[in-house]
C-alpha cells in the first residue's frame, strides 16, 4: 500500500488547524491601502463600504478633469500587480489617439501557483474594486468595463455580483454616475478554468467567446489592438483596488510609502513550510524576504524551526531562491538581476525535509497541463519535461534524463536561463529576462522549476537516477 502511494513531497504533512478554516489574512501595524476593510465581517457590503469612506475616491476623481486623474496615477507609479509590474498610468497612455471605443478588461483570472490576493480582494472588498474600475474608466476614457473572474471562484462571483447590483441600484455604476455625465457599465464575466487566460491577449480571446489562446505579438499591448480589435486596457484586480485610496490621498502620499521605483504596498501570499502561512499587505520596495519569512509580524519562521532549503519568490513561474537571497527586498530592480522575479507576489517555502525533484514536478506538471497548445515548444516541451521528470522522481530515470531535461528546456528558452547565485555551489546569478521560443510565458514557466531545481540541487536528482547503460554497437549476437 505504502509503495503504491509513493513518497511524500516532504516529511510531515498537514500541521492541522481548525476546519473549515478562515483564510489566513494577517494585518499588522503597517499602512494599509487595499486591505483596510478586511477586519470587518461585513466588509463586502455597500453599507460598510460607504461607512468607511467608500466611493469618495470616485467623487474626488470626477471632481477633476479626466486627464488630471490620469496624471495623478502616472505620478504615483502604480505598478501592475499581475506579474509584469508595468506602471498602470503608462499602460493607459498607450492607447492610440482618436480610436473609439476603448474598453477596460479586469483580469481576475488569478491562478498562478502560490498566488492569492485578487480572490480575497474580490470576496472581501468588491466595492473597492468596482470603484477602482470606475476611476480607471474615467481617467482613460474607457466606455465599458468587463470584470473577468476566474470560474472556480464561486464566492468571489457571488460577492462581486451582489456588489454590482447594489452599486447599480445606488447610482454608482451605469448611466450618469453620481449625477454626472460619466456613464459606464461594468459587466461581470465568468471564466471557466484555464490558467493561460490570465495572459492578457488570451483573456481577450476568451472574452470574445473563443478558446483562450494568447495572440501572436506584435502588437505587444492590447492597448493598441485588444477586445474586438479596439484599444483595450487590461489591469489586474489589485492594481485597480489601489486607485480609490490614491484618489483620496494623492500621489505624494502614495509614493511616500515604499521606494521611488516600488511605491505603495503590495499583497503577498506566503505558503508552504512556514509557521504562519498567510496573505500580508507589505510595504513595497523595502520589505525583505527575511522580514517576511522570519518576522514576528509575518510568517514567524520555518515550521518546527527547520532549516530553509529554498523558496519560490514570485509565483510558480519564478526561478527559485535559496537562503543566500533572503536579504533581497521586494524591489524588481534588485530581484531581477539576482536571477528571478517578484511576479504575482506569491512565495512558496520549502524546508529541509522537502523532496526537491518531486516539488519541482508539481509545478512542471501544472504548466504542462495548462499549456494551451498553440506553440510547439510549450505544448511538446512541457509534456516532455513532465514525463522525464516523472520517471526521474519515480526512480526509473537514468543520468541521461537530466541532460535531456536541460536540452528540452533549451528548446523552449534558448540561451542561459536565469538562476540565483549560490555561494556553496560557486554559482553567479544569471539575470532575467530570458529568451523564449513561445508567444507567452507558460512554456518558460514549465522549465523554470526544473532548471532551478537541477541547478541548485543537482545531487538530489543524481541520487535518484541510475547510470545509463551503454550498449556497445558491436555487441551483435550476444
Amino acid at each position: 500500500m505504502a509503495e503504491r502511494k509513493g513518497r511524500a513531497v516532504s516529511s510531515t504533512s498537514n500541521p492541522g488547524g481548525t476546519w473549515p478554516h478562515a483564510p489566513g489574512f494577517y494585518t499588522g501595524d503597517r499602512p494599509k491601502i487595499v486591505t483596510s476593510r478586511f477586519e470587518f465581517e461585513d466588509s463586502y457590503t455597500l453599507e460598510r463600504y460607504l461607512a468607511t469612506g467608500g466611493y469618495s475616491g470616485l467623487r474626488a476623481a470626477l471632481s477633476q478633469p479626466a486627464a488630471d486623474v490620469h496624471e495623478e496615477v502616472k505620478n504615483a507609479t502604480v505598478l501592475g500587480r499581475g506579474g509584469a509590474g508595468f506602471p498602470a498610468g503608462n499602460k493607459w497612455g498607450l492607447t492610440p489617439q482618436g480610436v473609439w471605443p476603448r474598453y477596460l478588461v479586469v483580469n481576475g483570472d488569478e491562478s498562478e501557483p502560490g498566488t492569492y490576493k485578487d480572490r480575497l480582494l474580490m470576496e472581501r472588498d468588491p466595492h473597492q474594486l468596482i470603484e477602482g474600475c470606475l476611476i480607471a474608466c474615467y481617467a482613460a476614457g474607457l466606455s465599458q468595463c468587463f470584470l473577468y473572474i476566474r470560474g472556480e471562484m464561486a464566492v468571489a462571483q457571488e460577492r462581486v455580483a451582489a456588489a454590482l447590483n447594489e452599486a447599480y441600484a445606488a447610482g454608482y455604476v451605469g448611466k450618469n454616475i453620481l449625477g454626472s455625465q460619466f456613464s459606464v457599465d461594468i459587466v461581470l464575466h465568468w471564466g471557466a478554468g484555464a490558467y493561460v487566460v490570465g495572459e492578457e491577449t488570451a483573456l481577450i480571446e476568451s472574452l470574445e467567446g473563443n478558446r483562450g489562446m494568447p495572440r501572436l505579438k506584435p502588437p505587444y499591448f492590447p492597448a493598441a489592438i485588444g477586445l474586438y480589435g479596439q484599444p483595450t486596457i487590461v489591469n489586474n484586480v489589485e492594481t485597480l483596488a489601489n486607485l480609490p485610496w490614491l484618489m483620496n490621498n494623492g500621489a505624494t502620499a502614495y509614493t511616500a510609502i515604499g521606494t521611488p521605483t516600488s511605491p505603495g504596498t503590495r499583497m503577498v501570499a506566503v505558503s508552504g513550510h512556514v509557521k504562519r502561512p498567510g496573505v500580508y499587505e507589505i510595504i513595497n520596495g523595502t520589505t525583505t524576504f527575511r522580514d517576511l519569512l522570519y518576522g514576528e509580524d509575518f510568517c514567524q519562521g520555518i515550521r518546527n524551526n527547520n532549516e530553509l532549503k529554498a523558496f519560490v519568490p514570485g509565483g510558480g513561474s519564478a526561478p527559485w531562491f535559496t537562503p543566500d537571497q533572503l536579504d533581497l527586498p521586494f524591489e524588481a530592480s534588485q530581484v531581477g538581476p539576482a536571477g528571478s522575479m517578484l511576479g504575482s507576489g506569491a512565495i512558496m517555502v520549502m524546508d529541509s525535509t522537502t523532496d526537491i525533484p518531486r516539488a519541482a514536478l508539481t509545478l512542471t506538471r501544472f504548466y504542462a497541463h495548462e499549456s494551451c497548445g498553440k506553440c510547439t515548444p510549450c505544448r511538446e516541451g512541457g509534456t516532455w519535461l513532465e514525463r522525464i521528470l516523472s520517471r526521474v522522481v519515480d526512480g526509473k530515470g537514468t543520468d541521461a534524463d537530466l541532460d535531456q531535461l536541460l536540452e528540452v528546456g533549451e528548446s523552449i528558452c534558448p540561451g542561459a536561463f536565469p538562476h540565483a547565485s549560490n555561494e556553496k555551489l560557486g554559482l553567479t546569478a544569471v539575470p532575467v529576462p530570458y529568451r523564449m521560443n513561445t508567444i507567452c510565458f507558460v512554456g518558460p514557466s514549465a522549465y523554470a522549476p526544473v532548471h532551478s531545481a537541477l541547478t541548485l540541487f543537482r545531487s538530489e536528482f543524481e541520487a535518484r537516477v541510475t547510470k545509463r547503460n551503454l550498449i556497445p554497437v558491436t555487441a551483435v549476437g550476444q
Binding site: V9, S13, H21, G114, Q157, Q181, H189, Y228, G272
Partner: protein, 204 residues
C-alpha cells in the same frame, strides 16, 4: 429538454445584451447550460450557437478548451483536490490517496450512486490554507483525512445541501442591470466618438 428552457433563454438574452458582440456571451451561456443539466449537452451547444451566432462546432471548440465544462454527467458533487506545489508541500497528494481509498474510486471517477466525482485539480488560489479542495467550487481549507471523511459523510447525508448547490450551479447571485440604470452595450462599429466626459472639464 437539453436545449435551454424558456426561463433560461430569457436569462441568456439578458446576458447577451450586455456585450458589444453576442459571441462574448458564449462562456456565460455554457455555464447556464451546465447549471440546467449538470453537464453540457450537444443540444445545448447547438442552441447557444443559435443565440450567439456561431455554429455548434464553434461553441464546442470553445467549450472543450475549458476545464470546468463537462460533456458527460458527473456526480452531484464534484470534489477537486489541489495537487500543485503549496498543497503538495502540505500533504495534498496523501489527501488524494486517502480520498481514492475512502470513496473506492480513482481520480476522474464517480461513485456508483452518482453522488461524488473526484478530480485532481491545479492551484485553487488558497495556497496558505493547504491542502485545500473544492466541492462544486466551494472551498474547504487545511483538509486532513478525518476532515475529508466528515465531508463525505455530510455530503451523503445531505447536511451540506444548503451551502453547496448541485454541480453546474455557479454563483447563486447573478448580476442584473436594471433597464433604467444601464448604459447598454453598443457594437464597436457603431461608436465613432470618444466619451462625453473627456471634454477637459470635471464631470462633477
Amino acid at each position: 429538454m437539453a436545449r435551454l428552457t424558456e426561463d433560461n433563454v430569457r436569462l441568456a438574452k439578458e446576458i447577451i445584451g450586455r456585450y458589444p458582440k453576442p459571441r462574448s456571451a458564449t462562456i456565460p451561456l455554457l455555464h447556464l447550460a451546465q447549471e440546467q443539466d449538470g453537464f453540457i449537452t450537444n443540444d445545448a451547444m447547438a442552441h447557444i450557437g443559435e443565440l450567439v451566432g456561431a455554429t455548434s462546432a464553434e461553441v464546442y471548440g470553445t467549450a472543450s478548451f475549458y476545464e470546468m465544462f463537462k460533456f458527460e454527467p458527473v456526480g452531484k458533487y464534484l470534489i477537486n483536490i489541489c495537487g500543485t506545489m503549496s498543497c503538495a508541500l502540505m500533504g495534498g497528494e496523501e489527501l488524494m490517496h486517502h480520498a481514492e481509498d475512502r470513496l473506492g474510486i480513482k481520480m476522474g471517477g464517480t461513485t456508483a450512486d452518482g453522488l461524488i466525482t473526484l478530480e485532481r485539480a491545479e492551484c485553487q488560489a488558497a495556497c496558505t490554507e493547504a491542502p485545500c479542495l473544492q466541492v462544486n467550487y466551494r472551498y474547504r481549507f487545511r483538509v486532513t483525512s478525518e476532515n475529508f471523511d466528515t465531508l463525505v459523510d455530510q455530503l451523503q447525508s445531505g447536511a451540506l445541501s444548503d451551502e453547496i448547490p448541485p454541480h453546474g450551479t455557479m454563483a447563486r447571485v447573478r448580476q442584473h442591470i436594471p433597464a433604467d440604470k444601464g448604459v447598454g452595450a453598443k457594437a464597436p462599429e457603431d461608436v465613432s466618438e470618444g466619451p462625453a466626459w473627456l471634454n477637459g472639464k470635471a464631470a462633477l
